[in-house]
Symmetry: C2
Subunit: 401 residues, 2 copies
C-alpha cells in the first residue's frame, strides 16, 4: 500500500476564453453569438466592477498566465494539478473567475430568468461538447459536469443527460434557483431523477446564485438611493442557504425514497450548515406536539431526513477549520474536499501547505476519506488507473502527522 494519498478535488472549474466557444455552437446560433459576445464581455466587466474588486483579482492573476491557461489547456491543467498533488477532479464551468463563462447565460449561475431558453441550451451544449473533449484527454483524472437546464423541457434535459453519459461526462449540474418554475419536489422532474439514477450521474448544485437583485437594489441604482448598504454582507450570509435549499425539497418530496441510488452533491457552499440542517429536518420529521395540527406529512418517507442525506448526498467544499471541528456532526462520509482551481477563493497554488495546515493530526482513515476516497466512490474514479499518478504526486500521510 502506498504511503501517498489519493486526492480528488470535488470542485474545479474549466472554461474556454469566451470567443472560442463559437466553434462548439450549433451553426444556427453563431450569428447570435457574434452579437452577444461583446455584450457578454462588457457585462462581465461591469459585474466585476459592481460586485468584485477588480484590482484584487487582477493582482492575484499577475504572473500566473501559464497556470491560469489550465482553465482550458490540457497540459497546463495537468501540470497545475500535479503541483497541487491532485490526482482526480470534478470540473464545473467558469474557468478563471468571471472570465470564462459559456455563452448565453449558461454559466455557473445557470440563471432561471432573463435568458432565452433556446439560446441558453445552445450555450450549455457548446460547453458540454468542449468539456467532453477536455475530459476525454485524461478520462481517469477528469469527471466533467454537464450543464443541464432542468427547468425548461424535462425531456430535453433527460436527452442531454444521456448525451453527456455517452460522451464521457460523468455528472451534471442543474440550476440552484428555480425562479418562477416549479421547485424540485414537483412530479414534472421525475424523468430527470430517473435517468440520473439509471445512468449513475450525480446531480450538482453549485454555490453562487442567491436573491442578489434584492440585496444590491436596482441596476442601474436609483439616483436617490444609490447602491444599498449591506448588500454584499447579505449575499455571503444567504448564499449557502440557497445552494442547500433544493435538498429540503428533494428530501421531503420523497425523491430519495423513490430513487434510492440517486446521487446529489452540494458544492462550494461550505459544509458548516449541515449539522443544523439535519437537526432541523429530523426534528420536524419526528412526531411532536407542535406538529399535530398539521396532520401527516411524513408517512411517504421510510427513513429520517438525515438517513437519506447520509446515503444520497455529498458536500464538496474547500474545507476549513470549522468543518474539520464539525466533521463528525457533518459526517465523515459526507465530506469531499475541493481546491476550487482556478478561482482566487480556493487553495491553489498553495494546496499542499493549506491541506497540511487544515488537516494536521487527523486520523488516517478520516484524512483519506475527506481528501479523496469519498469522491472516488461517489464519482466512480478508477483507483487502479490513478495509482501510478498518486504514487508520484500524492501528498504523504506523514506530512499530516
Amino acid at each position: 500500500m502506498s504511503d501517498r494519498l489519493l486526492v480528488v478535488s470535488s470542485d474545479c472549474h474549466a472554461g474556454l476564453p469566451p470567443a472560442r466557444y463559437r466553434d462548439y455552437l450549433d451553426p444556427e446560433f453563431r450569428e447570435a453569438f457574434d452579437h452577444a459576445l461583446p455584450l457578454q464581455i462588457a457585462n462581465t466587466r461591469e459585474a466585476e466592477k459592481m460586485f468584485l474588486v477588480q484590482e484584487i483579482n487582477e493582482e492575484w492573476r499577475r504572473g500566473w498566465d501559464y497556470e491560469l491557461s489550465g482553465a482550458w489547456d490540457h497540459d497546463a491543467r495537468n501540470k497545475v494539478l500535479d503541483g497541487d498533488g491532485i490526482a482526480g477532479e470534478v470540473i464545473f464551468p467558469d474557468g478563471i473567475t468571471e472570465m470564462n463563462a459559456p455563452p448565453f447565460g449558461a454559466g455557473l449561475g445557470l440563471p432561471s430568468g432573463g435568458v432565452d431558453p433556446t439560446l441558453q441550451w445552445a450555450g450549455a451544449r457548446a460547453h458540454n461538447r468542449w468539456l467532453a473533449e477536455l475530459c476525454q484527454m485524461a478520462p481517469e483524472r477528469r469527471c466533467g459536469v454537464a450543464l443541464v437546464l432542468a427547468l425548461y423541457d424535462v425531456d430535453e434535459a433527460v436527452a442531454e443527460v444521456r448525451w453527456a453519459k455517452k460522451n464521457g461526462l460523468r455528472s451534471i449540474m442543474i440550476p440552484v434557483m428555480w425562479g418562477s418554475h416549479p421547485p424540485y419536489h414537483h412530479p414534472r422532474y421525475e424523468p430527470l431523477w430517473q435517468v440520473c439514477e439509471e445512468l449513475d450521474m450525480p446531480i450538482h448544485f453549485h454555490s453562487g446564485p442567491a436573491e442578489s437583485e434584492q440585496y444590491f437594489g436596482t441596476w442601474p441604482p436609483d439616483p436617490q438611493v444609490g447602491t444599498l448598504t449591506g448588500g454584499m454582507g447579505i449575499y455571503v450570509s444567504e448564499v449557502a442557504f440557497f445552494v442547500s435549499r433544493p435538498l429540503t425539497f428533494l428530501i421531503w418530496g420523497g425523491v430519495f425514497e423513490r430513487h434510492p441510488s440517486l446521487k446529489v452533491a452540494v458544492t462550494e457552499g461550505t459544509a458548516v450548515w449541515v449539522p443544523e440542517f439535519l437537526e432541523l429536518l429530523d426534528h420536524r420529521f419526528a412526531e411532536h406536539a407542535g406538529s399535530a395540527k398539521l396532520g401527516d406529512y411524513r408517512s411517504h418517507m421510510s427513513m429520517k431526513p438525515s438517513e437519506y442525506f447520509a446515503r444520497n448526498i455529498r458536500v464538496g467544499s474547500n474545507i476549513h477549520a470549522r468543518e474539520i471541528a464539525l466533521r463528525h456532526e457533518i459526517g465523515i462520509g459526507t465530506m469531499m474536499w475541493g481546491s476550487d482551481y482556478p478561482h482566487p477563493e480556493g487553495s491553489w497554488p498553495e494546496t499542499r501547505s493549506r491541506l497540511q495546515e487544515n488537516f494536521k493530526g487527523l486520523p488516517k482513515d478520516e484524512l483519506a476519506a475527506i481528501l479523496g476516497e469519498n469522491a472516488a466512490d461517489f464519482y466512480g474514479f478508477d483507483r487502479e488507473k490513478l495509482a501510478p499518478l498518486v504514487a508520484e504526486i500524492g501528498p504523504r500521510y506523514d506530512d499530516f502527522a
Copy 2:
C-alpha cells in the same frame, strides 16, 4: 425577595370573533367588511382543510369554550393566565388559531401581496383599536403588539407607531416577507427605525409566513398533478429561516449601527437557529481569504453581527429541550419564553408542568432571566406593579429543583 418567579409570556395571541371587528372599523370600510366577512370565514375553513387537520383542532378545543374566550375576553384571559402562572404577556393578533384574525388580510401573516393596502390598513387599525382597549383593562400585565404595514407608505407606518404608543400599545409587528417591496436594509425604512427607537417600541417578526405557494402548488391543485408531496415538510423546515431572515438585512444594512437602542424580536420561530446564524454572520464578517475578492463590505459596522444581536435582538419562543441545551450558545440574555396561548402548539393549559419538565435543574438566575426577567427588561414591564400578582400566581423556584 419573593420565592416566586415573574413569568412573562413573550408570545400570546388575542383577537375578536371576526364579525365583532366591524365596530372598530372606520365607518367607510364597513360595507366592504360586510361583503368580505363571509368570504374570510369560508377561506379560513378552506385553509384549515388544506393545511391543517380540522378534527385535531376541533378535538383540542372541545370543552374549553370559556378558556378560549380569553382570546378576546378580559376576565377569561386573566383567569387562564393566572392558571398558567403568567403575570405578563405580549399580545399578537389571531386568537384561537386561524379563527380570530383581523379583517382584510391584516392577520398574523401580514401578507405583502394579494391584498388591497387601504383595506389592509383599515383591518390593522381596527385590530389595534380593539387591542388598545383590551390592554388598557390590565396595562401592567399586557403588552400589546400593534400591526404596522411597513411595506407601503412609510409615513403612514410611522404615524401608526405614534398612535399605538399614545394609546398604550407597547410594541409593533411588521411583515416577515416583503414580497415585491424593498427588503429591510433599504433606506426608505429609516423613519420607521427612527420612531421605534425614539419611542422605545420593539419591532416583532412573528413566525408563520414562508413561500407556501411554492411548497403546496397551485390552488386549486392542477388536476394532473394534485397537491404536491412534501409541501408541509418543506414548510416546517423553512419557516424559521424566513422569520429570522429580516435580521440578516437589518444587521448588514447597518440599522443597529445607526440606531443603537432599537429593539427587535423574533417570535415563535424556535431559537435553535441562533448559534449557527451568529457563527455564519460573524464568520462572514471576519476578514478571510475567501472574501478578499468581494471588497469591503463591513467597514460601516463597528461591531460584529453577534454583538448587535446580543444588544438589540431578542428571541421569543416556546422553549424546548434543545433550546435549553443550546442556551449558552443562543445567549441567556437573548431568550424569552412564551406560552403561545391560545394556540394548540403552545403550552397552555399545561404550562406549569411543561415548564417544570423543560427547565428542571436550571440555575436560578438563568431560569428567572428566560422565564420573565429578560422580557420584563425588553418590554418595560413594571415589576413593582406586578409583584403582588407574582406573589400569588408565580411558580416557585423550588418547583424546578
